[in-house]
């Protein structure tokens, strides 16, 4: 096993990303979908920080990650509010039942 380096972090990130994606596309419950999104964002953040450490010696990556975290917090709050509204409207948060977009 080689010494831990950039690739390790990238693979880890890819794994987390894929798992998050899986949650997004397979879960019925809207809240779990949100969880998946958070995981995806975290995977991206790992990449940012890893690059900031290994490739770019500036802190740009970290700063970007910071902004991602901020945005994620905002997104989570709004998304959750939306979910609660959906619940209020339909008495359910299952996404397969929310198909009013259908043409």
């Amino acid at each position: 096993m080689m010494a831990v380096g950039l690739h390790h972090f990238l693979v880890l990130s890819a794994l987390l990303f894929v798992l998050g994606l899986l949650a997004v596309i397979t879960k019925k419950n809207a809240v779990t979908v949100l969880m998946g999104i958070e995981l995806i964002l975290n995977a991206a953040n790992i990449n940012f920080i890893a690059f900031s450490r290994y490739v770019d010696t500036d802190l740009d990556g970290q700063l970007f990650a910071l902004f991602v975290i901020i945005t994620a917090a905002a997104a989570a709050a709004v998304a959750l509010a939306i979910v609660l509204n959906i619940y209020k409207q339909m008495r359910s948060v299952n996404l397969d039942e929310a198909d009013t977009l259908a043409g």
Binding site: H8, A23, T26, I69, I70, A76, A81, D96
Partner: protein
């Protein structure tokens, strides 16, 4: 297998296992707990990468904020007492296939790309640097982000409040 590597594997395995728990568990609360530990492990990864401030932010925002929020969301959006908090899955098979395909592509890209890797330097405290950057050349993004947060705060509070009768 030194101290650094050990820590990395501990956190990485923690993160992946927790994430898996999140994805494959059918109980919503377990999903949330899985996410919680995945996020905490990621915070550990951050520390390994020298991002101490970000790690603390990660804990603060995700654990104290988002996960708590999600737990609230679950509890408020499901008739929970006496009922199992279950969530079904759909299109699991195509989802797994797509995920696997994507993972392979990503791994291929990771190993195929020639990263311009620099020798990582000393791990220095980042807080003051981040603060200075935010207050100088990143002031505008920072302000926009704060406005975004404010908007999200107000918007979320507005949407989630009870309808006036």
């Amino acid at each position: 297998m030194n101290y650094f590597d050990l820590t990395f594997y501990v956190f990485a395995i923690g993160a992946v296992v927790s994430a898996g728990m999140m994805v494959f568990s059918r109980n919503l609360i377990y999903c949330a707990v899985g996410l919680l530990f995945a996020l905490a492990s990621v915070a550990g990864i951050y520390v390994l990468l020298g991002a101490d401030f970000l790690a603390a932010t990660q804990l603060m925002v995700y654990v104290g904020g988002i996960v708590a929020l999600l737990l609230f969301g679950i509890m408020l959006s499901v008739k929970f007492t006496g009922v199992e908090l279950r969530t079904g899955t759909l299109q699991m098979l195509p989802g797994l296939m797509i995920a696997a395909g994507l993972f392979l592509l990503l791994v291929r890209m990771v190993f195929r790309t020639e990263w311009a890797v620099n020798q990582p330097g000393e791990m220095l405290p980042t807080t003051s640097t981040i603060g200075k950057r935010i207050m100088t050349d990143l002031l505008i993004p920072f302000e926009i982000a704060s406005i975004l947060l404010l908007v999200a705060l107000i918007g979320a509070a507005y949407m989630a409040r009870r309808e006036r009768t």
